[in-house]
Subunit: 236 residues, 2 copies
């Protein structure tokens, strides 16, 4: 009357990270080079094992801090999903991973210190063509797709920017993540009209020979209503 006990088995769990940022107007992802087998020397998403009494959210936050030096508390970090195919690790059918999406401003990578194993930013378009370790190719695709969706309905786009940013910076985020050009005037109006998306700081940032752009900070809202539509009829 307790078949669970027979069926119960223990597995190893990791948290892997899809850390996205915008560099030179392109969406980039942080990749590392694997130090150990399997897939030693191959590009992979950063990640690590669940430890001690951690939750997986804590594992992800810790790995994020170790890989990038970023404070996870100030970044957007959310689950993508669990990957548990028994064939995903060629050596152990019972290693599952919980993938996380992290969104970061373009910060310099502290290649020194910590666990950083040749971590580098790679344009997503490029990373998606490369063969990554394990099922990290699938995870990357899912993570990017999640980010694209989130931009539509939430205000996370601000997580790609620093504390202060211009509307143009924010538009560059949407254009990089979606890979489309947006109408500047309409974007400006939409963002500034949306409730709690951005708040003006009063400051201005000079531009290369042009009217200086007003600076903004992220507003309190997390859901974006009405959503930023990813062209319905203009056919993606």
């Amino acid at each position: 009357m307790s078949p669970q006990r027979r069926a119960r088995q223990k597995v190893t769990v990791t948290a892997d990270l899809v850390i996205l940022t915008i560099r030179a107007d392109r969406l980039n992802v942080l990749l590392v080079e694997r130090a150990n087998e399997p897939f030693a020397g191959k590009p992979a998403l950063p990640g690590g094992f669940l430890r001690g009494r951690e939750s997986l959210d804590e594992t992800a936050a810790r790995e994020l801090a170790e890989e990038t030096g970023m404070d996870a508390a100030r970044l957007h970090l959310e689950q993508i999903g669990v990957y548990s195919d028994p064939d995903r690790d060629p050596r152990d059918p019972r290693v599952i991973t919980c993938a996380y999406l992290a969104i970061a401003p373009d910060l310099p990578l502290p290649t020194a210190g910590s666990d950083a194993r040749a971590a580098r930013w790679v344009p997503v378009a490029e990373a998606e063509r490369v063969r990554l370790a394990f099922d990290h190719g699938d995870i990357l695709r899912d993570g990017v797709e999640l980010a694209r969706d989130k931009l539509q309905f939430t205000t996370v786009a601000t997580a790609f920017c620093g504390d202060e940013f211009t509307i143009g910076d924010l538009r560059a985020v949407y254009e990089a993540v979606w890979g489309v050009a947006l109408d500047k005037p309409n974007f400006h109006r939409k963002v500034t009209d949306a409730d709690g998306f951005v708040v003006a700081t009063g400051g201005k940032r000079p531009t290369a020979g042009g009217r200086p752009a007003a600076l903004y900070r992220a507003g309190g809202a997390t859901v974006l209503s009405p959503p930023m539509m990813r062209s319905r009829r203009t056919g993606e």
Copy 2:
């Protein structure tokens, strides 16, 4: 140079299910009574342990079949997320669960056969007030919230209906899940105009003293564009 080996630890993994259906115009969830400690005798979400060489998706599908007799291949089944707080199981800090959302038409529960431990449908409003085992209260809330969101942007609402349904049936789904009244004429037009949401079968279903309703089947589309808006300005 390999601190992973030290940190690596094994955990037990379960898949828990938030199985939703519409009964008597209300959103219901399937709850079971726990047979074993911890929380023996308490209401809980159905679920079970990852076995053999299964993926978690397969575990969820198997449990769904065992609990309800439903064929998972014909139902909507998707991940909600992972719950890994070390305090979620009072007896073992290393039991994590992957929660799944299942959407089912209102089928009779095969209380006979299989593993069915006093499984019963409970209105969600009621289930959310009851204290469930483990963190199943959180999982239920997240699952219901996910279902509400999914109704906006996808065509999953049809998964609540049988093979053939009327526009009124489909509207009842939205009204039950969102807990709001929708305008009948506008809903009808919106659904029938949306591309690939529903397709008319040509059949009709008589109603209690009224014009018979046309019957539809689910269309091929999975994303709903434009989305079914959950009242922007009419204040939720």
